[in-house]
Amino acid sequence: EAGVVQSPRYKIIEKKQPVAFWCNPISGHNTLYWYRQNLGQGPELLIRYENEEAVDDSQLPKDRFSAERLKGVDSTLKIQPAELGDSAVYLCASSLDRRVYEQYFGPGTRLTVT
């Protein structure tokens, strides 16, 4: 069974530029999560989807971050414009549905903003 796929694995951009991350969850997993992980810290939830609906986006900085999961499968997280403080690892995770609490994580995208 394929795991959670994320691309790109690494991204270096200059501040004020836009950037997008892509995630394909495990087949059949209805719930999808985006996390941000700063160096030396645990992941922090940005947004959670149940199918194509964003059910928890309270931690998403909506002035510059946006996300979509149009067909309830893969998802894109965008930052525009990027700031120096956005440098972090962006992790995508999925779970079977909201009643199954174990999450499966992708390898992450390491973003460096210069």
């Binding site: 959670v4 719930t31 030396g40 810290q41 645990g42 992941p43 922090e44 939830l45 959670r48 928890d56 992790l91 995770a93 779970s95 909201r98 009643r99 199954v100 609490y101 174990e102 999450q103 499966y104 994580f105 992708g106 390898p107 992450g108």
Partner: protein
């Protein structure tokens, strides 16, 4: 915001020894999970314990949960060099068990 606080922040042991990591949290929970993260990789789910459980085992892992003290511990027995990683506890919100809040992690180093 980080709900869990893990202790110690770093732990270095010899192969074959046991490793114990602790996690404390602040609010009522539905479940508590432990994840492992190898350097530069994603997180891997290890074990889940529900709020009405006190102890759970999985292979060399033993997790305890004390909801009165809002704390949990993860014991890895007979550690191996391959256990070297960061270990995170994550609490599932009482109203939505799939909404996880992670601690800052314990960096475990197992020396061969």
């Amino acid at each position: 915001s980080q709900q869990g606080e893990e202790d110690p922040q770093a732990l270095s042991i010899q192969e074959g020894e046991n490793a114990t990591m602790n996690c404390s949290y602040k609010t009522s929970i539905n479940n508590l999970q432990w994840y492992r993260q190898n350097s530069g990789r994603g997180l891997v789910h290890l074990i889940l314990i529900r709020s009405n459980e006190r102890e759970k085992h999985s292979g060399r892992l033993r997790v305890t949960l004390d909801t009165s003290k809002k704390s949990s511990s993860l014991l890895i027995t007979a550690s191996r060099a391959a256990d070297t990683a960061s270990y995170f506890c994550a609490t599932g919100a009482e109203t939505s068990g799939s909404r996880l809040t992670f601690g800052e992690g314990t960096q475990l180093t197992v020396n061969p």
